[in-house]
Symmetry: none
Subunit: 235 residues, 2 copies
């Protein structure tokens, strides 16, 4: 999941005309062992698909030349069946977005959180049986989190989580035992433009603990002055 040795997890093309966003995404993806290329408009996206042959495209629907849907249409015309994860503004009309999920494609609304993006990418890749589509279940101790069904179990018992709780737990579970700083957690679990009070994190840790500890000992350990870590209590 994190060892970087050349070839990596798969090739992903990121298409967005806002450099900041394209950066955030490529950095996060590279860090997760994908090979990444970027394009800033529809025309170069089409060209990059031909040359780079990505296994997935992250495609902003809002581009300076062609819009994302048009890019997708032209790809399909050429019988390119590479899956697409669309990035849409929150106010994109529903009917434009609907239909995307029919083809196995999917979409994420801006602003998104990195965890959400990664989870969606994994889902799409899995659906298409491509490289990078690893097993959908994360496990730690007696905890189990299934990305496909979004179900969480502890010690056999189902646990209902809200969206944010789920993303937080998923991030922790994808880095078991490692101490994650508040900054890292906020960056990955909250939307990339979140600028509020960093103390939300504590609130959500508290929520998660309450739900998880109904079925066993504390697994989310606080590391004072640093952050949190998933650990089986040593004593």
């Amino acid at each position: 999941m994190s060892k970087s040795n050349g070839t990596g997890n798969g090739r992903i093309l990121v298409v967005d005309d806002e450099p900041n966003i394209a950066d955030v995404i490529s950095i996060a993806l590279r860090y997760n062992d994908f090979e990444v290329e970027t394009a800033a408009d529809g025309a170069s996206a089409l060209q990059a698909v031909a040359e780079f042959r990505p296994q997935l495209i992250v495609l902003d629907v809002m581009l300076p030349d062609l819009d994302g849907f048009e890019v997708a249409r032209r790809l399909r015309e050429r019988a390119e069946d590479v899956p697409i994860l669309f990035l849409t503004a929150k106010d994109t009309t529903e009917d434009k977005v609907r239909g995307l999920t029919l083809g196995g494609d999917d979409y994420v609304t801006k602003p998104f959180s990195v965890e959400e993006l990664l989870a969606r990418i994994a889902t799409v890749l899995r659906r298409f049986g491509r490289a990078g589509g690893e097993a959908s279940v994360l496990r730690f101790a007696d905890l189990e989190l299934d990305d496909e069904t979004r179900e969480v179990h502890r010690d056999g018992a189902a646990i209902e989580l809200t969206d944010t709780e789920y993303r937080l737990l998923r991030y922790l579970m994808s880095h078991p035992r490692r101490v994650l700083t508040r900054g890292q957690i906020l960056d990955h679990v909250w939307e990339y433009d979140f600028a509020g009070d960093a103390r939300v994190l504590e609130t959500y840790v508290s929520y998660l603990r309450k739900k998880l500890e109904a079925h066993g000992p504390r697994l989310i350990q606080t590391v004072r002055g640093v952050g949190y870590a998933l650990r089986v209590p040593s004593s």
Copy 2:
């Protein structure tokens, strides 16, 4: 980590306009076998990156010309993906700094302790798989300290340490057998502007000993009139 044999550990560019700070950092880094260059403002930093090709940049966000974030932005624009460790004042609003940990970049707030800085540098380099990114585990006798999980074990047993205890032990373990003077220890483990009673050190040595000696013989030896050393008791 400390043997000096010419080539060194990697190249680091230190950018800070306060000469004292830049000095403290460069000296510490050189002592740890890094090749170091310094720059005092954003413009010369950008130039130094091009010429010196550092593997990491320690970058104060408060610079006389461009601020650190701007320097970073321009580097990314040029597709320079050298990792950056930002130095920020304590009152820098969190949200300006966040987003950094996405790219594997990180930040340390002033005033920091040298040990903390070194630990962060090691983490970032490890994350980028560059030279200097050694294993995250320090070992001495039956002691084991893992920087990534922040776990300390002696003879298999987990040991809970507070922040200061951890930094102190880490410093001792990164210079095994060597006698470290009180001055050196205070300079490395406490924040560089620490002005309190130097006897805190004794208190913390005492705390550490108590925790470590629950699982084996004394490893932190007193060298009267000088300081302390990590040694396996000869007798």
